[in-house]
Symmetry: C2
């Protein structure tokens, strides 16, 4: 059974999910953020079937999230593009949520540090333009310039 | 074929994906953030098969992300818990990424506004504890208190 496509929903969230809404894909991206570049290294890190990994990497290259580059040894490596690097807030939001609700009593398995100050990064949150942290009820959605009649947010 | 479980990976991202890493689930949550509470309203909004919607709602209630509450008319509604509300950075990070890379030339279909100031919220980003926006190379990962030998970040 094919998954129903969300692209008709004219929703930026749905469009993102079309591309990255697959669990392996986000774990491949996590590994890319940790510096993994080679097919075999992704395969070893994730324990994922080679055909699935291959399909996911092809898709990520097609979407311009990873760049496939030849290496000196005649093979290839996969490197995050700017579009891929821009997914870091997505991954870190999920990671912090998992730290808060899924981690054991010991706490987070991995902590992300601001290199300059040597301190943990701020918890991922929604901010106002002046930097205030906003909770759900302090935000409202309005029609944007790309809204059309059948849009859903 | 069953999806391989990521829970053994001791990774907060993987743990989050175990729970919310399914595309319908995030769209159900999107609708919940937009105020949808009734089964039939979710069904109508998403055009999702009733059995799939039912299974996803059960899971979200089990995970403590939605609360199932009886209503005066003898039916039920589904309301975001605190744990569910804490997913807003995940959804908005995906939405902003989709706005940037997936929206048409007109721009974002929906814009999120800070009610107090009436201005769009800040772009979802990773922040240092002092509020600076951090790019990927300004962040490093270190072992946290919950790290153990076989951990993967």
């Amino acid at each position: 059974m094919k998954l129903k496509s969300f692209s008709h929903l004219n929703c930026s969230l749905a469009q993102s999910l079309e591309i990255i809404g697959e669990r392996w894909t986000l774990l491949i991206l996590r590994d890319a953020f940790f510096g993994i570049k080679r097919f075999d290294a992704f395969q070893q890190s994730l324990g994922i079937a080679r055909n699935i990994l291959s399909a996911r990497l092809v898709r990520l290259v097609e979407e311009g999230i990873l760049e496939k580059r030849p290496t000196e040894d005649g093979r290839h490596e996969y490197v995050l593009t700017e579009k891929g690097l821009d997914l870091q807030p997505v991954l870190l939001s999920m990671t912090h949520w998992g730290d808060k609700y899924g981690a054991g009593p010991e706490g987070a398995p991995v902590v992300f540090i601001d290199r300059e100050k040597g301190e943990p990064i701020a918890s991922m949150a929604v901010h106002a333009s002046d930097g205030r942290v906003l909770r759900t009820r302090e935000i409202k959605a309005v029609k944007g310039p790309g809204y059309y009649k059948d849009s859903q947010a």
